[in-house]
Protein backbone atom coordinates (compact mmCIF):
# COMPACT_ATOMS: atom_id res chain seq x y z
CA UNK A 1 0.00 0.00 0.00
CA UNK A 2 1.11 3.52 -0.71
CA UNK A 3 2.52 5.64 2.04
CA UNK A 4 0.36 8.50 3.29
CA UNK A 5 2.12 11.18 5.30
CA UNK A 6 0.39 12.82 8.26
CA UNK A 7 1.99 15.91 9.76
CA UNK A 8 1.65 15.61 13.53
CA UNK A 9 1.15 18.76 15.64
CA UNK A 10 2.88 18.92 18.98
CA UNK A 11 2.49 21.00 22.12
CA UNK A 12 5.25 23.15 23.57
CA UNK A 13 6.29 20.28 25.84
CA UNK A 14 6.50 17.85 22.93
CA UNK A 15 3.18 16.08 23.54
CA UNK A 16 0.80 15.28 20.71
CA UNK A 17 -2.11 17.60 19.95
CA UNK A 18 -5.59 16.19 19.68
CA UNK A 19 -5.57 16.46 15.88
CA UNK A 20 -3.14 13.52 15.61
CA UNK A 21 -5.77 10.78 15.91
CA UNK A 22 -7.89 12.12 13.05
CA UNK A 23 -4.89 12.70 10.79
CA UNK A 24 -3.61 9.17 11.26
CA UNK A 25 -7.16 7.82 11.01
CA UNK A 26 -7.65 9.56 7.67
CA UNK A 27 -4.24 8.42 6.43
CA UNK A 28 -5.22 4.83 7.19
CA UNK A 29 -8.24 5.27 4.88
CA UNK A 30 -5.89 5.90 2.00
CA UNK A 31 -2.85 3.71 2.64
CA UNK A 32 -0.06 3.18 5.14
CA UNK A 33 -0.04 5.95 7.74
CA UNK A 34 3.34 7.60 8.18
CA UNK A 35 3.46 10.07 11.05
CA UNK A 36 5.82 12.98 10.45
CA UNK A 37 7.07 14.86 13.45
CA UNK A 38 9.35 17.84 13.96
CA UNK A 39 10.87 17.76 17.44
CA UNK A 40 13.63 19.34 19.48
CA UNK A 41 16.77 17.19 19.65
CA UNK A 42 16.13 13.97 21.55
CA UNK A 43 12.43 14.70 22.13
CA UNK A 44 10.93 12.74 19.23
CA UNK A 45 11.23 9.24 20.64
CA UNK A 46 8.87 10.04 23.49
CA UNK A 47 5.93 10.29 21.09
CA UNK A 48 6.49 7.05 19.20
CA UNK A 49 4.45 4.80 21.49
CA UNK A 50 1.49 7.15 21.40
CA UNK A 51 1.70 7.47 17.59
CA UNK A 52 1.74 3.70 17.34
CA UNK A 53 -1.34 3.47 19.51
CA UNK A 54 -3.05 5.91 17.15
CA UNK A 55 -2.16 3.67 14.21
CA UNK A 56 1.03 5.06 12.66
CA UNK A 57 2.80 2.27 10.78
CA UNK A 58 5.88 4.40 10.33
CA UNK A 59 7.16 7.44 12.17
CA UNK A 60 9.50 9.95 10.56
CA UNK A 61 11.12 12.20 13.12
CA UNK A 62 13.13 15.27 12.18
CA UNK A 63 14.98 16.74 15.15
CA UNK A 64 16.51 20.16 15.29
CA UNK A 65 16.93 23.30 17.38
CA UNK A 66 14.55 25.41 15.39
CA UNK A 67 11.47 23.56 16.58
CA UNK A 68 9.41 25.75 18.86
CA UNK A 69 11.46 28.84 17.95
CA UNK A 70 10.87 29.20 14.24
CA UNK A 71 7.37 29.04 12.79
CA UNK A 72 6.43 26.61 10.01
CA UNK A 73 9.91 25.96 8.61
CA UNK A 74 10.91 23.03 10.84
CA UNK A 75 7.64 21.27 9.98
CA UNK A 76 8.06 22.14 6.31
CA UNK A 77 11.61 20.76 6.19
CA UNK A 78 10.51 17.64 8.07
CA UNK A 79 7.64 17.07 5.68
CA UNK A 80 9.74 17.75 2.59
CA UNK A 81 12.34 15.27 3.88
CA UNK A 82 9.64 12.69 4.52
CA UNK A 83 8.25 13.17 1.01
CA UNK A 84 11.65 12.36 -0.36
CA UNK A 85 12.20 9.42 1.97
CA UNK A 86 8.78 7.80 1.66
CA UNK A 87 7.51 8.79 -1.79
CA UNK A 88 3.95 9.21 -0.50
CA UNK A 89 0.72 9.03 -2.49
CA UNK A 90 -0.70 11.90 -0.43
CA UNK A 91 0.15 14.24 2.44
CA UNK A 92 -2.35 15.11 5.16
CA UNK A 93 -2.04 18.26 7.27
CA UNK A 94 -4.39 19.74 9.84
CA UNK A 95 -6.13 22.88 8.61
CA UNK A 96 -5.11 24.80 11.71
CA UNK A 97 -3.56 28.24 11.97
CA UNK A 98 -0.18 26.74 12.74
CA UNK A 99 -0.06 23.89 10.23
CA UNK A 100 -1.84 24.83 7.07
CA UNK A 101 0.94 27.15 5.99
CA UNK A 102 3.16 24.06 5.88
CA UNK A 103 0.76 22.46 3.41
CA UNK A 104 0.70 25.56 1.22
CA UNK A 105 4.46 25.89 1.15
CA UNK A 106 4.99 22.21 0.49
CA UNK A 107 2.68 22.37 -2.53
CA UNK A 108 4.72 25.19 -4.01
CA UNK A 109 7.98 23.50 -3.18
CA UNK A 110 7.26 20.03 -4.59
CA UNK A 111 4.89 21.03 -7.37
CA UNK A 112 1.88 19.48 -5.72
CA UNK A 113 -1.62 20.80 -5.36
CA UNK A 114 -3.82 21.29 -2.34
CA UNK A 115 -7.31 20.15 -1.54
CA UNK A 116 -8.16 22.48 1.31
CA UNK A 117 -10.30 21.92 4.38
CA UNK A 118 -11.48 18.41 3.65
CA UNK A 119 -13.91 16.76 6.05
CA UNK A 120 -13.26 13.29 4.66
CA UNK A 121 -10.98 11.37 2.33
CA UNK A 122 -11.26 8.16 0.35
CA UNK A 123 -9.40 6.23 -2.27
CA UNK A 124 -11.33 5.70 -5.46
CA UNK A 125 -9.44 3.31 -7.73
CA UNK A 126 -6.12 5.00 -8.25
CA UNK A 127 -7.42 8.43 -7.31
CA UNK A 128 -7.56 10.11 -3.97
CA UNK A 129 -10.78 11.93 -3.33
CA UNK A 130 -11.18 14.68 -0.75
CA UNK A 131 -14.68 15.46 0.51
CA UNK A 132 -15.49 19.05 1.46
CA UNK A 133 -18.38 20.75 3.15
CA UNK A 134 -18.70 24.19 1.59
CA UNK A 135 -20.77 27.30 2.19
CA UNK A 136 -21.45 26.23 5.73
CA UNK A 137 -22.61 22.77 4.76
CA UNK A 138 -24.95 23.98 2.00
CA UNK A 139 -22.99 21.81 -0.42
CA UNK A 140 -20.89 18.69 -0.22
CA UNK A 141 -18.24 18.60 -2.91
CA UNK A 142 -15.53 16.19 -3.89
CA UNK A 143 -12.21 17.07 -5.41
CA UNK A 144 -9.22 15.29 -6.74
CA UNK A 145 -5.72 16.33 -7.70
CA UNK A 146 -4.17 15.89 -11.10
CA UNK A 147 -0.58 16.08 -12.21
CA UNK A 148 1.16 16.35 -8.84
CA UNK A 149 1.40 15.29 -5.22
CA UNK A 150 -1.97 15.54 -3.48
CA UNK A 151 -1.73 17.58 -0.29
CA UNK A 152 -4.92 17.60 1.73
CA UNK A 153 -5.67 19.82 4.71
CA UNK A 154 -8.24 18.38 7.09
CA UNK A 155 -10.76 20.40 9.06
CA UNK A 156 -9.86 19.82 12.72
CA UNK A 157 -12.27 17.52 14.49
CA UNK A 158 -14.01 16.38 11.32
CA UNK A 159 -12.49 12.93 10.92
CA UNK A 160 -14.09 10.25 13.02
CA UNK A 161 -12.27 7.22 11.63
CA UNK A 162 -9.49 5.85 13.80
CA UNK A 163 -6.66 3.59 12.71
CA UNK A 164 -5.76 0.34 14.39
CA UNK A 165 -2.80 0.45 16.73
CA UNK A 166 0.52 -0.56 15.21
CA UNK A 167 4.14 -0.94 16.17
CA UNK A 168 5.77 1.78 14.14
CA UNK A 169 8.96 1.59 12.20
CA UNK A 170 10.90 4.71 13.23
CA UNK A 171 13.40 6.78 11.31
CA UNK A 172 15.04 9.83 12.81
CA UNK A 173 16.89 12.49 10.86
CA UNK A 174 18.59 15.70 11.85
CA UNK A 175 16.85 18.85 10.87
CA UNK A 176 19.05 21.66 9.65
CA UNK A 177 17.39 24.94 8.90
CA UNK A 178 19.20 26.93 6.26
CA UNK A 179 19.83 30.51 7.24
CA UNK A 180 17.33 32.92 5.75
CA UNK A 181 14.34 35.03 6.53
CA UNK A 182 12.05 33.40 9.07
CA UNK A 183 9.05 33.99 11.26
CA UNK A 184 10.16 33.67 14.86
CA UNK A 185 8.14 32.45 17.78
CA UNK A 186 8.72 34.98 20.53
CA UNK A 187 6.45 33.45 23.10
CA UNK A 188 3.76 30.85 23.58
CA UNK A 189 1.00 31.96 25.92
CA UNK A 190 -0.71 28.82 27.08
CA UNK A 191 -4.46 29.04 27.38
CA UNK A 192 -5.75 28.30 30.88
CA UNK A 193 -6.52 24.61 31.20
CA UNK A 194 -10.03 23.66 30.09
CA UNK A 195 -12.60 23.37 32.81
CA UNK A 196 -13.33 19.74 32.12
CA UNK A 197 -15.96 20.59 29.53
CA UNK A 198 -15.60 18.86 26.19
CA UNK A 199 -13.74 20.76 23.49
CA UNK A 200 -15.93 22.55 20.97
CA UNK A 201 -14.51 20.85 17.89
CA UNK A 202 -15.86 17.35 17.57
CA UNK A 203 -18.13 17.66 20.64
CA UNK A 204 -21.27 15.50 20.62
CA UNK A 205 -23.34 18.26 22.21
CA UNK A 206 -22.89 22.00 22.02
CA UNK A 207 -24.72 24.80 23.85
CA UNK A 208 -24.09 28.23 22.38
CA UNK A 209 -25.02 31.67 23.59
CA UNK A 210 -25.48 34.88 21.63
CA UNK A 211 -25.87 38.59 22.15
CA UNK A 212 -29.28 37.83 23.68
CA UNK A 213 -27.50 36.87 26.90
CA UNK A 214 -26.91 40.58 27.32
CA UNK A 215 -23.85 40.56 29.57
CA UNK A 216 -20.77 38.55 30.35
CA UNK A 217 -22.09 37.49 33.76
CA UNK A 218 -25.25 36.10 32.22
CA UNK A 219 -23.20 33.78 30.07
CA UNK A 220 -23.01 31.53 33.13
CA UNK A 221 -26.50 30.45 32.12
CA UNK A 222 -25.09 28.94 28.93
CA UNK A 223 -22.41 27.16 30.95
CA UNK A 224 -24.96 25.79 33.43
CA UNK A 225 -27.01 24.26 30.65
CA UNK A 226 -23.87 22.95 28.95
CA UNK A 227 -22.79 21.29 32.17
CA UNK A 228 -26.22 19.78 32.77
CA UNK A 229 -26.08 18.26 29.27
CA UNK A 230 -22.37 17.46 29.31
CA UNK A 231 -21.96 19.74 26.33
CA UNK A 232 -19.26 22.04 24.98
CA UNK A 233 -19.79 25.81 25.09
CA UNK A 234 -20.07 27.84 21.89
CA UNK A 235 -21.01 31.40 21.01
CA UNK A 236 -22.05 33.68 18.19
CA UNK A 237 -19.67 36.29 16.85
CA UNK A 238 -21.75 39.01 18.45
CA UNK A 239 -21.26 37.34 21.84
CA UNK A 240 -17.53 37.05 21.20
CA UNK A 241 -17.34 40.68 20.04
CA UNK A 242 -19.15 41.76 23.17
CA UNK A 243 -16.48 39.97 25.20
CA UNK A 244 -18.77 37.38 26.79
CA UNK A 245 -16.39 34.55 25.83
CA UNK A 246 -13.03 34.10 24.11
CA UNK A 247 -12.90 33.89 20.33
CA UNK A 248 -12.04 30.20 20.39
CA UNK A 249 -15.70 29.57 21.22
CA UNK A 250 -17.07 31.21 18.10
CA UNK A 251 -19.26 28.96 16.00
CA UNK A 252 -19.88 29.89 12.38
CA UNK A 253 -18.45 30.71 9.06
CA UNK A 254 -15.36 32.34 10.47
CA UNK A 255 -15.33 30.38 13.67
CA UNK A 256 -15.52 26.68 14.35
CA UNK A 257 -17.84 24.57 12.21
CA UNK A 258 -19.55 21.98 14.39
CA UNK A 259 -21.77 19.06 13.55
CA UNK A 260 -22.87 17.63 16.90
CA UNK A 261 -25.76 15.33 17.79
CA UNK A 262 -27.36 18.22 19.67
CA UNK A 263 -26.89 21.94 19.18
CA UNK A 264 -28.66 24.37 21.49
CA UNK A 265 -28.75 28.06 20.48
CA UNK A 266 -29.62 30.49 23.29
CA UNK A 267 -30.36 34.11 22.40
CA UNK A 268 -28.87 33.71 18.94
CA UNK A 269 -30.71 35.22 15.98
CA UNK A 270 -29.32 32.67 13.53
CA UNK A 271 -27.61 34.95 11.02
CA UNK A 272 -26.59 33.09 7.89
CA UNK A 273 -22.94 33.19 8.95
CA UNK A 274 -23.75 31.58 12.28
CA UNK A 275 -25.87 28.90 10.66
CA UNK A 276 -22.96 28.17 8.35
CA UNK A 277 -21.17 26.72 11.35
CA UNK A 278 -23.93 24.62 12.86
CA UNK A 279 -26.69 23.82 10.39
CA UNK A 280 -25.41 20.31 9.77
CA UNK A 281 -26.00 19.41 13.42
CA UNK A 282 -28.22 16.38 13.90
CA UNK A 283 -30.74 18.02 16.22
CA UNK A 284 -31.03 21.78 16.68
CA UNK A 285 -32.81 23.45 19.58
CA UNK A 286 -33.29 27.22 19.75
CA UNK A 287 -34.58 29.53 22.45
CA UNK A 288 -35.16 33.10 21.33
CA UNK A 289 -37.69 35.70 22.32
CA UNK A 290 -38.16 36.91 18.77
CA UNK A 291 -40.55 34.55 17.02
CA UNK A 292 -39.25 35.65 13.62
CA UNK A 293 -35.60 34.92 14.38
CA UNK A 294 -34.08 33.00 11.45
CA UNK A 295 -32.64 30.41 13.81
CA UNK A 296 -36.14 28.88 13.96
CA UNK A 297 -35.89 28.04 10.26
CA UNK A 298 -33.31 25.37 11.05
CA UNK A 299 -34.46 24.40 14.54
CA UNK A 300 -35.99 20.99 15.18
CA UNK A 301 -37.36 22.32 18.44
CA UNK A 302 -37.82 26.05 18.88
CA UNK A 303 -39.05 27.92 21.94
CA UNK A 304 -40.23 31.48 21.59
CA UNK A 305 -39.35 32.68 25.05
CA UNK A 306 -36.92 34.41 27.34
CA UNK A 307 -33.69 32.53 28.01
CA UNK A 308 -33.62 33.93 31.52
CA UNK A 309 -36.89 32.16 32.37
CA UNK A 310 -36.68 29.05 30.23
CA UNK A 311 -33.07 27.99 30.74
CA UNK A 312 -33.09 27.81 34.57
CA UNK A 313 -36.30 25.75 34.36
CA UNK A 314 -34.74 23.55 31.71
CA UNK A 315 -31.64 22.94 33.83
CA UNK A 316 -33.92 21.91 36.71
CA UNK A 317 -35.98 19.63 34.47
CA UNK A 318 -32.88 17.94 33.08
CA UNK A 319 -31.40 17.44 36.54
CA UNK A 320 -34.69 16.01 37.79
CA UNK A 321 -34.76 13.47 34.96
CA UNK A 322 -31.14 12.54 35.44
CA UNK A 323 -31.82 11.91 39.16
CA UNK A 324 -34.87 9.86 38.31
CA UNK A 325 -32.85 7.78 35.86
CA UNK A 326 -30.18 6.89 38.41
Amino acid sequence: MANILALIETTSTGGLKSSAAGLIGAAAQLGTPVAVLAATPGAGAASVAELGRLGAAKVYIAEGDGVGRVLTRPQLEALAGAVEAHGPAAVLVSNSNESRGVAGRLAVRVGGAVAAEAVGVRADGGRIIAVHSVFGGDYTTESTIEGGLPIITLRPGSIEERAEAAIPEVSTVTLVLAAGPAANIVELREAPAETGRPALRGAAKVVSGGRGLGAKDNFALVEQLADALGAAVGASRAAVDAGFVPQSHQVGQTGVAVSPQLYVALGISGAIQHRAGMQTSKTIVAINKDEDAPIFEVADFGIVGDVFTVVPQLVEAIKARQLAAV
Binding site: V114, A115, A116, E117, A118, A130, H132, V134, T141
Partner: protein, 317 residues
Amino acid sequence: MAISTKPTTSGTKSPRKPLPGWAKGAAAAAAAVVVLLLVVLLARWLRTMPAAESFLIQYPGHSELPDGAPTGLPAWLGWQHFLNAFFMLLIIRTGWLVRTTARPKAYWTRNNKGLLKTKNPPKKISLDLWLHLTLDALWVLNGIVFMVLLFATGQWMRIVPTSWDVVPNALSAVLQYASFDWPTENGWVNYNSLQVLAYFATVFIAAPLALATGLRMSGAWPQNAEKLNRIYPVEAARAVHLPVMAYFVVFIVTHVALVFATGALRNLNHMYASRDDAGWVGFWIFAASVAVMAAGWFLARPLFLRPIASLMGKVSR
Protein backbone atom coordinates in the same frame (compact mmCIF):
# COMPACT_ATOMS: atom_id res chain seq x y z
CA MET B 1 -11.84 23.81 -0.26
CA ALA B 2 -11.16 26.25 -3.02
CA ILE B 3 -14.11 27.72 -4.80
CA SER B 4 -13.12 28.70 -8.26
CA THR B 5 -15.06 31.28 -10.11
CA LYS B 6 -16.25 31.28 -13.64
CA PRO B 7 -17.16 34.50 -15.46
CA THR B 8 -20.28 33.15 -17.08
CA THR B 9 -22.82 30.79 -15.68
CA SER B 10 -25.42 28.78 -17.43
CA GLY B 11 -28.80 27.53 -16.41
CA THR B 12 -29.88 30.13 -13.91
CA LYS B 13 -33.34 30.58 -15.36
CA SER B 14 -35.80 32.02 -12.93
CA PRO B 15 -38.79 29.77 -12.24
CA ARG B 16 -42.05 30.74 -13.88
CA LYS B 17 -44.11 32.93 -11.59
CA PRO B 18 -47.90 32.66 -11.47
CA LEU B 19 -48.51 36.38 -12.18
CA PRO B 20 -45.93 39.12 -12.44
CA GLY B 21 -46.12 41.91 -9.87
CA TRP B 22 -47.06 44.64 -12.34
CA ALA B 23 -50.01 42.61 -13.65
CA LYS B 24 -51.36 42.20 -10.12
CA GLY B 25 -50.90 45.91 -9.54
CA ALA B 26 -52.68 46.79 -12.77
CA ALA B 27 -55.58 44.51 -11.90
CA ALA B 28 -55.90 46.10 -8.47
CA ALA B 29 -55.79 49.61 -9.95
CA ALA B 30 -58.47 48.73 -12.49
CA ALA B 31 -60.68 47.33 -9.74
CA ALA B 32 -60.18 50.50 -7.69
CA VAL B 33 -61.18 52.69 -10.65
CA VAL B 34 -64.33 50.66 -11.14
CA VAL B 35 -65.27 50.92 -7.46
CA LEU B 36 -64.63 54.67 -7.47
CA LEU B 37 -66.76 55.08 -10.54
CA LEU B 38 -69.59 53.21 -8.86
CA VAL B 39 -69.28 55.41 -5.77
CA VAL B 40 -69.45 58.55 -7.89
CA LEU B 41 -72.47 57.25 -9.80
CA LEU B 42 -74.19 56.35 -6.55
CA ALA B 43 -73.48 59.80 -5.08
CA ARG B 44 -74.68 61.52 -8.25
CA TRP B 45 -77.85 59.51 -8.21
CA LEU B 46 -78.39 60.31 -4.53
CA ARG B 47 -78.10 64.01 -5.25
CA THR B 48 -81.03 63.78 -7.64
CA MET B 49 -83.21 62.76 -4.65
CA PRO B 50 -85.05 65.67 -3.02
CA ALA B 51 -84.42 64.29 0.48
CA ALA B 52 -80.68 64.33 -0.07
CA GLU B 53 -80.84 67.81 -1.46
CA SER B 54 -82.67 69.16 1.57
CA PHE B 55 -80.13 67.39 3.84
CA LEU B 56 -77.39 69.21 2.00
CA ILE B 57 -79.17 72.52 2.50
CA GLN B 58 -79.60 71.91 6.19
CA TYR B 59 -76.01 70.73 6.61
CA PRO B 60 -73.87 72.60 4.09
CA GLY B 61 -70.73 70.70 5.04
CA HIS B 62 -69.22 72.89 7.72
CA SER B 63 -70.08 73.95 11.23
CA GLU B 64 -70.11 77.50 12.46
CA LEU B 65 -66.89 78.46 14.25
CA PRO B 66 -67.13 79.74 17.84
CA ASP B 67 -67.03 83.50 18.29
CA GLY B 68 -63.54 84.90 18.38
CA ALA B 69 -62.10 82.25 16.10
CA PRO B 70 -59.17 83.67 14.17
CA THR B 71 -59.37 84.17 10.44
CA GLY B 72 -56.52 83.18 8.16
CA LEU B 73 -53.41 81.16 8.69
CA PRO B 74 -50.42 82.83 10.37
CA ALA B 75 -46.86 82.34 9.11
CA TRP B 76 -45.79 80.25 12.11
CA LEU B 77 -48.38 77.70 11.11
CA GLY B 78 -46.88 77.49 7.66
CA TRP B 79 -43.46 76.80 9.16
CA GLN B 80 -44.83 74.26 11.56
CA HIS B 81 -46.66 72.57 8.76
CA PHE B 82 -43.55 72.37 6.60
CA LEU B 83 -41.29 71.05 9.37
CA ASN B 84 -43.93 68.55 10.33
CA ALA B 85 -44.23 67.32 6.75
CA PHE B 86 -40.46 67.11 6.40
CA PHE B 87 -39.99 65.08 9.57
CA MET B 88 -42.97 62.85 8.86
CA LEU B 89 -41.72 61.95 5.41
CA LEU B 90 -38.32 60.87 6.70
CA ILE B 91 -39.78 59.24 9.80
CA ILE B 92 -42.02 57.07 7.66
CA ARG B 93 -39.16 56.19 5.38
CA THR B 94 -36.70 55.33 8.14
CA GLY B 95 -39.37 53.48 10.07
CA TRP B 96 -40.02 51.37 7.02
CA LEU B 97 -36.30 50.72 6.63
CA VAL B 98 -35.99 49.71 10.27
CA ARG B 99 -38.80 47.24 9.75
CA THR B 100 -37.65 45.75 6.49
CA THR B 101 -33.84 45.86 6.52
CA ALA B 102 -32.49 42.49 7.54
CA ARG B 103 -28.94 43.70 7.40
CA PRO B 104 -28.25 47.29 8.37
CA LYS B 105 -25.25 48.85 6.66
CA ALA B 106 -24.06 50.55 9.83
CA TYR B 107 -24.76 50.73 13.54
CA TRP B 108 -24.65 53.45 16.14
CA THR B 109 -23.81 53.30 19.83
CA ARG B 110 -24.56 56.28 22.05
CA ASN B 111 -21.67 58.01 23.79
CA ASN B 112 -22.38 57.19 27.38
CA LYS B 113 -21.27 60.41 28.96
CA GLY B 114 -22.52 63.87 29.77
CA LEU B 115 -26.24 64.40 30.16
CA LEU B 116 -27.35 60.99 28.97
CA LYS B 117 -25.16 58.84 31.19
CA THR B 118 -26.80 55.60 32.19
CA LYS B 119 -25.78 52.75 34.42
CA ASN B 120 -26.28 50.09 31.78
CA PRO B 121 -24.07 50.25 28.70
CA PRO B 122 -25.90 51.77 25.73
CA LYS B 123 -27.35 49.43 23.11
CA LYS B 124 -26.04 49.22 19.58
CA ILE B 125 -28.77 50.23 17.13
CA SER B 126 -28.87 50.45 13.38
CA LEU B 127 -28.11 53.78 11.75
CA ASP B 128 -31.64 53.73 10.31
CA LEU B 129 -33.10 53.44 13.78
CA TRP B 130 -30.81 56.20 15.00
CA LEU B 131 -32.14 58.52 12.30
CA HIS B 132 -35.70 57.44 13.00
CA LEU B 133 -35.33 58.24 16.70
CA THR B 134 -33.49 61.50 16.08
CA LEU B 135 -36.20 62.66 13.69
CA ASP B 136 -38.82 61.51 16.18
CA ALA B 137 -37.31 63.75 18.82
CA LEU B 138 -37.31 66.73 16.45
CA TRP B 139 -40.84 65.96 15.34
CA VAL B 140 -42.07 65.82 18.93
CA LEU B 141 -40.31 69.09 19.70
CA ASN B 142 -41.97 70.66 16.69
CA GLY B 143 -45.27 69.18 17.84
CA ILE B 144 -44.96 70.69 21.29
CA VAL B 145 -44.29 74.15 19.85
CA PHE B 146 -47.27 73.63 17.56
CA MET B 147 -49.60 72.69 20.39
CA VAL B 148 -48.54 75.64 22.52
CA LEU B 149 -49.03 78.13 19.69
CA LEU B 150 -52.25 76.43 18.62
CA PHE B 151 -53.88 76.96 21.98
CA ALA B 152 -52.30 80.33 22.64
CA THR B 153 -53.62 81.81 19.40
CA GLY B 154 -57.05 80.20 19.30
CA GLN B 155 -56.19 78.43 16.07
CA TRP B 156 -57.27 75.23 17.80
CA MET B 157 -60.92 76.16 17.19
CA ARG B 158 -60.47 75.50 13.50
CA ILE B 159 -59.48 71.86 13.90
CA VAL B 160 -61.26 70.80 17.09
CA PRO B 161 -64.99 70.12 16.64
CA THR B 162 -67.00 72.34 18.95
CA SER B 163 -70.52 71.11 18.25
CA TRP B 164 -72.12 67.79 17.33
CA ASP B 165 -73.36 69.02 13.96
CA VAL B 166 -69.86 68.29 12.75
CA VAL B 167 -71.04 64.72 12.18
CA PRO B 168 -73.93 65.35 9.76
CA ASN B 169 -71.88 68.11 8.17
CA ALA B 170 -69.03 65.69 7.58
CA LEU B 171 -71.49 63.27 5.98
CA SER B 172 -72.68 66.08 3.80
CA ALA B 173 -69.11 66.85 2.77
CA VAL B 174 -68.54 63.18 1.93
CA LEU B 175 -71.58 63.23 -0.34
CA GLN B 176 -70.38 66.41 -2.01
CA TYR B 177 -66.88 65.07 -2.58
CA ALA B 178 -68.18 61.77 -3.88
CA SER B 179 -70.51 63.44 -6.37
CA PHE B 180 -67.60 65.52 -7.63
CA ASP B 181 -69.56 68.64 -6.78
CA TRP B 182 -67.15 69.77 -4.14
CA PRO B 183 -67.82 71.69 -0.93
CA THR B 184 -67.46 75.40 -1.43
CA GLU B 185 -66.38 76.64 1.99
CA ASN B 186 -63.33 78.92 2.23
CA GLY B 187 -60.42 77.23 3.99
CA TRP B 188 -58.94 80.61 4.88
CA VAL B 189 -61.85 81.08 7.23
CA ASN B 190 -63.22 77.69 8.04
CA TYR B 191 -62.51 74.09 7.06
CA ASN B 192 -65.33 71.77 6.08
CA SER B 193 -66.36 69.27 8.71
CA LEU B 194 -64.68 66.32 7.05
CA GLN B 195 -61.43 68.25 7.11
CA VAL B 196 -61.95 69.20 10.74
CA LEU B 197 -62.47 65.57 11.69
CA ALA B 198 -59.50 64.39 9.67
CA TYR B 199 -57.17 67.08 11.03
CA PHE B 200 -58.39 66.50 14.53
CA ALA B 201 -57.82 62.75 14.27
CA THR B 202 -54.36 63.28 12.85
CA VAL B 203 -53.19 65.86 15.36
CA PHE B 204 -54.90 64.68 18.52
CA ILE B 205 -55.22 60.91 18.02
CA ALA B 206 -52.77 59.52 15.47
CA ALA B 207 -49.75 61.63 16.45
CA PRO B 208 -49.99 60.91 20.20
CA LEU B 209 -50.58 57.22 19.41
CA ALA B 210 -47.50 57.09 17.22
CA LEU B 211 -45.51 58.73 20.00
CA ALA B 212 -46.82 56.50 22.79
CA THR B 213 -46.28 53.28 20.85
CA GLY B 214 -42.91 54.38 19.53
CA LEU B 215 -41.73 55.31 22.99
CA ARG B 216 -42.74 51.90 24.28
CA MET B 217 -40.67 50.20 21.62
CA SER B 218 -37.64 52.45 22.08
CA GLY B 219 -34.66 51.89 24.33
CA ALA B 220 -35.70 54.87 26.45
CA TRP B 221 -38.62 52.93 27.95
CA PRO B 222 -37.95 51.51 31.43
CA GLN B 223 -37.35 47.79 30.81
CA ASN B 224 -37.71 46.79 34.44
CA ALA B 225 -40.94 48.56 35.33
CA GLU B 226 -42.72 45.21 35.60
CA LYS B 227 -46.18 46.35 36.56
CA LEU B 228 -46.26 49.06 33.92
CA ASN B 229 -44.98 46.68 31.28
CA ARG B 230 -47.64 44.14 32.14
CA ILE B 231 -50.40 46.70 31.61
CA TYR B 232 -48.77 48.02 28.48
CA PRO B 233 -46.91 45.18 26.78
CA VAL B 234 -44.51 45.93 23.97
CA GLU B 235 -46.43 43.59 21.67
CA ALA B 236 -49.44 45.91 21.91
CA ALA B 237 -47.30 48.88 20.96
CA ARG B 238 -45.81 46.99 18.05
CA ALA B 239 -49.28 45.97 16.85
CA VAL B 240 -50.50 49.59 16.82
CA HIS B 241 -47.39 51.43 15.59
CA LEU B 242 -47.54 50.15 12.01
CA PRO B 243 -51.29 50.73 11.42
CA VAL B 244 -50.80 54.28 12.70
CA MET B 245 -48.10 54.72 10.07
CA ALA B 246 -50.50 53.35 7.44
CA TYR B 247 -53.10 55.88 8.60
CA PHE B 248 -50.60 58.70 8.18
CA VAL B 249 -49.73 57.56 4.67
CA VAL B 250 -53.38 57.38 3.62
CA PHE B 251 -54.03 60.76 5.22
CA ILE B 252 -51.06 62.40 3.51
CA VAL B 253 -51.92 61.01 0.09
CA THR B 254 -55.58 62.07 0.30
CA HIS B 255 -54.69 65.42 1.82
CA VAL B 256 -52.20 66.30 -0.90
CA ALA B 257 -54.54 65.07 -3.63
CA LEU B 258 -57.42 67.21 -2.35
CA VAL B 259 -55.22 70.26 -1.85
CA PHE B 260 -54.41 70.06 -5.52
CA ALA B 261 -57.87 69.10 -6.70
CA THR B 262 -59.74 71.84 -4.83
CA GLY B 263 -58.11 75.08 -5.91
CA ALA B 264 -54.43 74.29 -5.70
CA LEU B 265 -52.96 77.80 -5.92
CA ARG B 266 -55.31 79.22 -3.37
CA ASN B 267 -54.81 76.32 -0.94
CA LEU B 268 -51.03 76.56 -1.29
CA ASN B 269 -51.14 80.31 -0.68
CA HIS B 270 -53.08 79.70 2.54
CA MET B 271 -50.60 77.27 4.00
CA TYR B 272 -47.31 78.42 2.52
CA ALA B 273 -47.66 82.17 2.02
CA SER B 274 -50.33 83.10 4.64
CA ARG B 275 -52.39 84.91 2.07
CA ASP B 276 -55.82 84.43 0.59
CA ASP B 277 -55.53 84.89 -3.14
CA ALA B 278 -54.86 82.74 -6.19
CA GLY B 279 -51.35 83.96 -7.06
CA TRP B 280 -48.25 81.79 -7.50
CA VAL B 281 -46.26 82.77 -4.39
CA GLY B 282 -47.53 79.88 -2.27
CA PHE B 283 -46.88 77.47 -5.07
CA TRP B 284 -43.24 78.44 -5.38
CA ILE B 285 -42.66 78.26 -1.67
CA PHE B 286 -44.32 74.87 -1.73
CA ALA B 287 -42.12 73.78 -4.64
CA ALA B 288 -39.05 74.86 -2.71
CA SER B 289 -40.24 72.89 0.31
CA VAL B 290 -40.67 69.80 -1.86
CA ALA B 291 -37.13 70.28 -3.14
CA VAL B 292 -35.89 70.40 0.46
CA MET B 293 -37.76 67.22 1.26
CA ALA B 294 -36.34 65.50 -1.82
CA ALA B 295 -32.86 66.58 -0.79
CA GLY B 296 -33.48 65.22 2.71
CA TRP B 297 -34.65 61.94 1.24
CA PHE B 298 -31.58 61.73 -0.97
CA LEU B 299 -29.10 62.72 1.73
CA ALA B 300 -30.52 60.36 4.35
CA ARG B 301 -28.05 57.64 3.45
CA PRO B 302 -25.23 56.17 5.49
CA LEU B 303 -22.55 58.06 3.60
CA PHE B 304 -23.90 61.43 4.75
CA LEU B 305 -25.44 60.32 8.02
CA ARG B 306 -22.32 58.76 9.46
CA PRO B 307 -20.49 62.04 10.10
CA ILE B 308 -23.57 63.45 11.87
CA ALA B 309 -24.22 60.31 13.86
CA SER B 310 -20.56 60.21 14.90
CA LEU B 311 -21.06 63.47 16.76
CA MET B 312 -23.48 61.76 19.14
CA GLY B 313 -21.95 58.33 19.35
CA LYS B 314 -19.86 55.66 17.73
CA VAL B 315 -20.72 54.45 14.24
CA SER B 316 -19.58 50.91 13.52
CA ARG B 317 -20.42 47.85 11.51
